[in-house]
Amino acid sequence: MNALSEEVKQLIIDTLDLEDIEPADIDYEDALFVDGLGLDSIDALELGVAIKKAYDVKIDNNSEDSKKHFYSVKTLCEFIAANRG
């Protein structure tokens, strides 16, 4: 899980052009969107595409579940680990 979380953090930084942010700056359990890291809905779409490409895992962007999966690095990792091809 640890290696995957580092990978996902780096994927978030690279995909979303987060200048000046290091993987260590992203908390494992904190919210990624709005109040946490401050990502927005376009970032969610972008991240969905990147995760699909990297892990062949499709997250349905409009479902209630997707909000849970996108909540933090932790929830994303759990979802990827359970569904990756």
């Binding site: 987060l18 972008e46 490409k53």
Partner: protein, 258 residues
Amino acid sequence: MKFTIKKCVAWGGGLTTDQDWQEFAQKEKELSLEQELPALKQMPAMQRRRLSPFAKLSLHCALSAAEDCLATVPSVFASRHGDLQKTSKLISDVAAKEVLSPTQFGLSVHNAVGGLFSIYTGNKAPLSAISAGEDTFFVAILDAVSKMNYNAYPQILLVYTEAQVPEIYAQYVAQEEYSMSCALLIEPVQSALASECEEDKAVFELTLSNKEQGDKPAGDDENPHMQALDFLHFYYSGVEQAEVVSKRHKWQFKRTTC
């Protein structure tokens, strides 16, 4: 069509300051292909991260030219080719059957930079995005001044930006292109009353006329220079008039005082 220019800000071709452009107009400095981009440090990093070089050039000039009326000024954004680097990357992805990046897609439309400007400044005034071939810059002035006069706006912002086209399109571009942006804060000529007229304030007049035989470039040839650069040369040199001929039109610029 007459108007005044409250502020002119240009960046590109290695020239970034008023001083640079004055030296360019005096032929003391030449344009280069150097691509130094404005830092835009005033923008929060979370908004700045999505800006392409094209958007950075535009926003730097727009924000500097309209700094006293950012939240209220109506605007015209103009570009001949738009952010073609972005668009051509998307087209390549379509051809390769790749999934398109939602962010790149959203920011590749012609009015994307105007949208970014509006979001950042909270400006809800009318905004349009236009393109008119090689005549884009002067047509943008025509558009901006017409809108300002018709709606009795106290001012209007014109932002013209061009980025060098991607390699694959270069063969279709006849002009010598530089990545550049130029923003003008345009105001009406206040009044014919001399008492209201600021002394020595320059009044500009742009006239569009038919191309005549003997005008250069002739036939279907384009002006070898970008119109915006012809304008900047005229603006900073202080000469009283300039004539610019394009493939289709003849434009005359005059400078008087009111």
